[in-house]
Symmetry: C2
């Protein structure tokens, strides 16, 4: 059997890391022992908490991929967010819950996407479809991913299917969703170790619309003002990033997971797009976004519409 | 409930028409009574035979789609092969078995694709997954689509899943696959009624690779020489089409479904790509392709590689 590389997006979050590990488990059950999970970057604090909690080893780092290597993408499809060299790889499968963009294959493939809150919810369905047993450790990874992506079911991206899957999986993993979930989300909000440059790269997506190259990064916190103590350094890191990558716009959203609001720092020549998109004014390069917690559902689409 | 339009590709073949009707049935079982099957063009003889045989009404013709209308695509994803106005529609679902190209959505969607020979095989899996009953008429439509797309399991695109699905479905529909299948495929080879212009449009796909705009049309026949009686008129129609659409290459493949070979008429400034792709010489604008029956697997990828 040939080797198959499984990975999520760059700046990996909990769903990208755990879904790679879960997909490795699924592929083995399907008779592909040479499929292996990888990660495209450093683990964030939340994911570290999850892997430590359940004593699961992190996937190896993957820097780039050679031509014709076989890959399986989870939690993303955009080449801009994927591994270096993806254009020349042989994509066997995609399991994802995002819109489809900049995706192109020469041959037919297995592609399964659903408009649900988390990749793990789709993976759960694949286990059900195939009547595969789900081991407690694997169930724990999937539960964690759903809690993470839906912010404990509070995000507008959360669907009935996500809640149902997490409820079933938590039983298998013997997890108290509320208690474990809050502990896990809070672990993710510990940003004290990170430099400004690391902060803006923790969960950052490169996007494009109508010729506009833009970046939307997001961090979760229990206290927005805590993060803003470093505002000056963050703005400097964002400006460097804009210049290095020739971006029209960089939006850094700081999301308060307790009160379900965000405050964003917005820089770049086309920063006014964000004012138009959210019908507000930037003050001190910042805008308050009440009720906004989901980049995918509440930020990216409105920026694209106004680009 | 809002209306949902379900349709396959332009120049519809049996899979595109029957999968639209089957998907309508599936959506109703899923509780969406306002989803309705449409067709994007004239039925071919094979599809007419199928619908007459089982006394099933053809879907209505759809010319274009308005902004924000809700659609479900079956048997295609490329906008070039879809309805006029697709760029502005709201794509809810895609069920397909082709490579992904020129496909882009603003929001997440349900996308299910597998590298199998026929869309109907994936639809069959969706019935199984949901434990929905399959009525004999619906099973007959799916069996016909699989026979059509796999040329009675002889095409290299045919997979084990296609054979398994067709075998189960033929039982439900009470069809003798071999006898019905040959009769159906032969009905499709009756090209006597068509003008040269109609012939080159019967099952024709608009494609693009490395800046090359090209078209690959295909007809099935029991006798290649019969079709070539009209060679002069076909070449004229192809040339007109090339000029009207600014194509670099037009390949018209005439496939002998009895002996599993093809002969192609190739025109256009970039016709030599076909010589390179198949390692042969065009004589009289024609090339013989032994063993070639599948546009998707044996023609399009090698043209793209050499474009």
């Amino acid at each position: 059997m040939e080797k198959v590389f499984i990975f999520g997006h760059k700046s990996p979050d909990t769903d990208s890391i755990t879904s790679s590990l879960v997909m490795e488990n699924l592929e083995r059950k399907m008779g592909n022992p040479d499929a292996k999970a990888y990660r495209l970057g450093k683990l964030n604090k939340e994911t570290e908490f999850v892997l430590n909690y359940f004593k699961i080893q992190a996937p190896e780092l993957l820097e780039n991929i050679e031509e014709k290597e076989k890959v399986i993408l989870v939690d993303h499809n955009s080449f801009a967010q994927s591994v270096n060299g993806i254009e020349k790889a042989d994509i066997l499968k995609v399991i994802d819950h995002h819109c489809i963009s900049n995706f192109e294959t020469a041959t037919p493939l297995y592609y399964m996407a659903e408009p649900v809150g988390c990749t793990a919810t789709i993976l759960y369905e694949i286990y059900m479809m195939n009547k595969f047993e789900i081991e407690p450790n694997i169930a724990a990874l999937m539960t964690s991913a759903i809690i993470s992506d839906t912010l404990l079911f509070k995000s507008p991206t959360c669907t009935k299917k996500d809640i149902e899957a997490a409820t079933e999986l938590a039983k298998i993993a013997n997890i108290d969703i509320e208690n474990y979930g809050m502990e896990m989300l809070k672990a993710g909000t510990d940003l004290s170790d990170f430099s400004a440059e690391e902060l803006i790269n923790l969960d950052s997506k490169e996007l494009e619309a109508n010729g506009l190259k833009f970046q939307v990064a997001q961090v979760n916190t229990a206290c927005i003002e805590d993060v803003l103590k470093d505002k000056e350094a963050i703005e400097k890191a964002m400006t460097d990033f804009i210049n290095a990558n020739n971006l029209g716009l960089f939006m850094f959203a700081i999301t308060d997971i307790i009160n379900s609001n965000s405050k964003a720092i917005v820089l770049g020549e086309r920063a006014s797009i964000v004012e138009k998109a959210f019908n507000g004014k930037l003050e001190d390069n910042m805008i308050f976004l009440p009720g906004v917690v989901s980049r995918k559902k509440q930020i990216v689409p409105v920026i694209k519409e106004n680009a």
